[in-house]
């Protein structure tokens, strides 16, 4: 068993878990944060993307123990009183249908905008950067629109 302490969405949590517990299992089963999803078993689909110490990471491919001491941000912690601009843009531009890939998409998009700088994205870059996030519903058309709109809006 492993003793794991981390800060999740600003709250410090400590649990003793099976050594093999994945971060995504820790979030979903130990903390009840079920907004982070599991859509595959090969680190391909990106439904589980969260931020670990400010960078996007696939929570299905990290042991909870590896995140010991880390700051973790999940979809539940993204909004700060009101919706994050990326969340708002996904709704405004109909960037989601069934909603299952959406939390991972949004967390990836926030990271993408952070890395490139608000207002610095173009369509080709967004499409290339979404390589690690699979959506089966939207054909990506409106997801790309939403991310570009959020990026521009965050640039002010």
């Amino acid at each position: 068993m492993a003793n794991v302490t981390m800060t999740v969405n600003g709250r410090s949590v400590s649990k003793t878990v099976d050594d093999r517990t994945l971060l995504v299992q820790f979030l979903r089963e130990e903390l009840g944060l079920t907004g982070t999803h599991v859509g595959c078993d090969t680190s391909q689909c990106g439904a589980c993307v969260v931020h670990v110490n400010g960078k996007s990471a696939k929570a299905c491919t990290i042991l909870a123990a590896q995140a010991d001491g880390a700051e973790v941000l999940t979809i539940e912690g993204l909004a700060n009183g009101e919706l994050h601009p990326v969340q708002a843009a996904f709704r405004e531009h109909h960037g989601l249908q069934c909603g299952f890939c959406t939390p991972g998409m949004i967390m990836s998009a926030v990271d993408m905008i952070n890395r490139h700088g608000p207002g610095k994205l173009d369509e080709a870059t967004v499409r290339e950067e979404l390589d690690g996030n699979i959506c089966r519903c939207t054909g990506y058309h409106n997801i790309v629109k939403a991310i570009l709109a959020a990026s521009d809006q965050m640039a002010g």
Binding site: D18, R20, R28, L33, T34, G35, T36, H37, V38, G39, C40, D41, T42, Q44, C45, A47, T74, I75, E76, L78, A79, L83, Q87, A88, F90, R91, E92, H94, L96, Q97, C98, G99, F100, C101, T102, P103, I106, E123, V126, R127, E128, L130, D131, N133, I134, C135, R136, C137, T138, G139, Y140, H141, N142, I143, V144
Partner: protein, 779 residues
């Protein structure tokens, strides 16, 4: 139209929970004492199941029980069934082999379940499942549906000699043969429709809880049709009587057909929850989804299209072999027959059509409806043949199509369908204008200067949606009626709950259905709640598939609203001392026409519930239900144009333009409709370029993960140019046709027509991988 009424781009009500991580999917559910299931699955495509030794597994930490198929059968749990009876052309019924939820004698595909472990944690269950020892006795397997019909092929089911499920036909073979013999030109093609894995992003899951005191079961499951699930689980599988089983399909992460069916895991979780006395949850992983979700397509066909000297199509003859896998899934028999061959007239006036279909068993997972279900197979065949014919005849593909379009409605095809309305030239014109079809030659020349081969291809599709008149489908073999139900509950304060038998798993019903009520009563959509997906709340429903929720589900809501309005008018007329025929409802008010006498909608609703002053003899309350049975299929149609650039050095294909012009009849929310088309096109482009389920000759699925099965990613696709034309559907009260499947139906032939145009070689199969395209381009 009100600001939130029919035709408005209303943002989705359901989005707020999904964008903030508050969606509630089946795997998010927990109940006290919940344990976990892991299945022991066959590693072989075809094998006898010998002894199952669970002794080591049973002694492992946390294990509560290991259960097998003998125990399942011993408890009277029935086999899975196919609910649509097809008769062969000799009159004999289809040959359905037994499909137990846990196999105890023979397994017929890799991944078929033979036992289940129930343990306290998922990890413990999986560990123990690996320690269950099965004495497999391998049998020879057959994977290819054509080889499965050959003499000497391994035999799957004693009920189905030569692995033949049925040998069915439609149309007049003699008339077709005569027309072909007399034709000025005949185009002949062999066409394969590649096998696909639906891949909804949420893997299937089930949580079953048995209440000993009440002798009552609750099942949370990833279903597109919870009432159908309850009906089948009760009536055919004997899991629980219908009134003792509650099925809840909460938020469901995509379906595309794959979540219509009741799968072995749902049956086993329910049964195991009673047998073990603990709630049992199973959540599939992606590998299990690849191995056990019903696959789609998988047809091999030959087609002959005959033309007269004026290039008019005189006949179409098709011979199809369809692979249904190791067992018949719930609606599998209907897909290559009434959802396929009946659409082979396409948008064209063809006097003579004949189609023969043989369905076969192979040692692969069952095949059933996947987005479009039969109609993509018909469209791909027809639109590849028409495009090829145009090339052979040396005429414009657009003009050959236009010359043969049906232009008068209603139109009875020779293959059952009676098209009610359409304007195929309008969508062709719209698509050609949007694509700047006339400017293609210049774009091709410009691409040539960059060393790239540019091609353009089109596809004019039709589909039959709004399935379907119950009497008609009953006469064709369906085991269920295909109506829909709705209930409109008006609260005393005037807010409204609509209970619908449709199920939303991405389609946005919570928004579009509320828009309908808003349109009718002038209330804000915030005052309207759509309730679905729970058999304890909604009386009954046939669920969502086949683009039926608008044309059928919303029509039921219309009928219920009609009744609510009629009663509200009676109450208002009584209170306002006016004639019922003078009462109007709009803008949240109930008024007497031509006067200033009016009541707020909420005042009438309150009056219905206080019942202090109602018309003589009227019951209190304001709540009405309705069932709607369609009068016909609906016939969405459209034209898709794809433009590609091929790198001749690598065979890489880039989709540089994709145009869709669809006729869906009345549109409730254009934003949602466009989203449906985008997603459908992505799946169709995926089929054309990227996706293909590949079994090796021993029956191992070698594309069983996202590392091996190529899902469309954002970088594989362009932005899409979608628009609509409109002919109103005369068959239902809102004039709707349905939009859910069009993209997946219309797009594959447009893509392949474009690539073959670019490379100048028509011999290309889906998926058109760079390897295949390079080889074809350099032959």
């Amino acid at each position: 139209m009100g600001v939130e009424g029919i035709g408005a781009r209303v943002l989705r009500k359901e989005d707020k929970r999904f964008i903030s991580g508050k969606g509630r999917y089946t795997d998010d559910m927990t109940v006290p004492g919940m344990c976990h299931a892991a299945f022991v699955r066959s590693p072989h495509a075809h094998a006898r199941v010998g002894s199952i030794d669970a002794s080591e597994a049973e002694s492992m930490p946390g294990v509560i029980a290991v259960l097998n198929g003998t125990q399942l059968a011993g408890d009277g749990i029935g086999n899975l069934i196919c609910g649509w009876m097809i008769h062969s052309k000799d009159g004999s019924p289809m040959n359905m082999g037994a499909y137990p939820a846990l196999a105890s004698e023979v397994v017929r595909y890799v991944g078929q379940a033979v036992a289940v472990v129930v343990a306290e944690t998922q990890a413990q269950a999986r560990d123990a499942a690996e320690k269950v020892v099965v004495d497999w006795q391998e049998l020879p397997a057959v994977i290819d549906p054509v080889k499965a019909l050959e003499p000497g092929a391994p035999q799957l089911h004693p009920e189905a000699p030569n692995n033949l499920i049925y040998d069915w036909e439609i149309g007049d073979a003699a008339a077709v043969d005569k027309a072909i013999a007399e034709a000025a030109h005949v185009t002949t093609m062999e066409i394969t429709n590649n096998r696909l894995v639906p891949n909804a992003m949420e893997p299937r899951a089930a949580l079953a809880s048995y209440d000993t005191a009440e002798d009552h079961y609750t099942l949370w499951t990833t279903s597109q049709n919870p009432h159908v699930a309850r009906l089948v689980l009760s009536a055919f599988y004997n899991v629980a009587p219908e009134h003792k089983l509650r099925v809840i399909a909460p938020d469901v992460g995509g379906g595309f057909g794959s979540k219509i069916y009741i799968y072995p895991e749902e049956i086993v979780c329910l049964w195991a929850s009673k047998r073990t006395g603990v709630p049992v949850k199973w959540t599939g992983d992606r590998t299990e989804a690849f191995l056990t979700d019903a696959h789609g397509r998988d047809h091999v066909s030959t087609a002959k299209m005959a033309f007269d000297a004026d290039n008019r199509i005189t006949a179409l003859k098709v011979d199809t072999i369809a692979n249904l896998g190791g067992y018949m899934s719930l609606f599998s028999s209907s897909v290559p027959t009434y959802l396929y061959a009946t659409l082979l007239s396409g948008q064209y006036d063809i006097a003579n059509i004949h189609c023969n279909v043989r369905t076969v068993y192979t040692n692969t997972v069952p095949v059933d409806a996947y987005r479009g279900a039969g109609r993509p197979e018909a469209t791909y065949l027809l639109e590849r043949v028409v495009e090829t014919a145009a090339r052979e005849l040396g005429v414009s593909p657009a003009e050959l199509r236009r010359k043969n379009f049906i232009t008068e409605f209603p139109h009875q095809t020779p293959v059952i369908m009676a098209y009610d309305a359409g304007n195929y030239s309008a969508s062709l014109d719209a698509a050609m204008a949007a694509a700047d079809y006339d400017g293609f030659a210049a774009r091709k020349a410009e691409a040539e200067s960059r060393g790239r081969k540019r091609g353009i291809g089109m596809s004019c599709y039709i589909e039959a949606c709004g399935i379907a008149p119950s009497q008609a489908v009953g006469s064709l073999g369906a085991g269920v009626g295909l109506w829909e139900s709705a209930e409109v509950r008006v609260n005393p304060v005037g807010t409204i709950e609509v209970l619908t038998g449709s199920h939303s798993h991405g389609q946005g019903h919570e928004t579009t259905f509320a828009q309908l009520v808003s349109e009718r009563l002038g209330l804000p959509t915030d005052n309207i709640q759509i309730v679905h997906g729970d058999t304890d709340k909604v009386q009954f429903g046939m669920g969502t598939y086949g683009s039926r929720s608008g044309a059928v589900g919303m029509s039921a809501i219309v009928k219920a609203l009609d009744k609510v309005e009629a009663k509200a008018k009676k109450i208002a007329a009584h209170l306002l001392e006016a004639s019922e025929s003078d009462i109007e409802i709009s803008g949240g008010e109930v008024s007497v026409a031509g006067t200033d006498k009016k009541l707020g909608w909420h005042e009438v609703c309150l009056a219905a519930y206080t019942a202090h002053n109602l018309p003589e003899g009227m019951e209190p309350g304001l709540k009405e239900g309705a069932f709607y049975d369609p009068t016909n299929f609906t016939f969405p149609a459209g034209c898709y144009i794809c433009e590609v650039e091929v790198d001749p050095a690598t065979g890489d294909v880039e989709v540089v333009q994709f145009v869709a012009a669809d006729d869906f009849g009345t549109i409730i929310n254009p934003m949602i409709v466009e989203g449906q088309v985008h997603g459908g096109i992505a799946q169709g482009v995926g089929q054309a370029l990227l996706e293909g389920a590949q079994y090796d000759e021993t029956g191992q699925l070698v594309t069983a993960s996202y590392n091996d099965y190529c899902m469309p990613r954002a970088s594989n696709l362009p932005s899409f140019n979608v628009s609509t034309t409109e002919t109103v559907c005369p068959g239902n009260p809102l004039g709707m046709k349905g939009c859910g499947e069009a993209g997946a139906i219309g797009s594959p032939p447009a893509v392949i027509n474009a690539i073959t145009d670019a490379i100048g070689n028509n011999d290309l199969s889906m998926p058109a991988t760079p390897e295949k395209v390079w080889a074809a381009a350099n032959r």
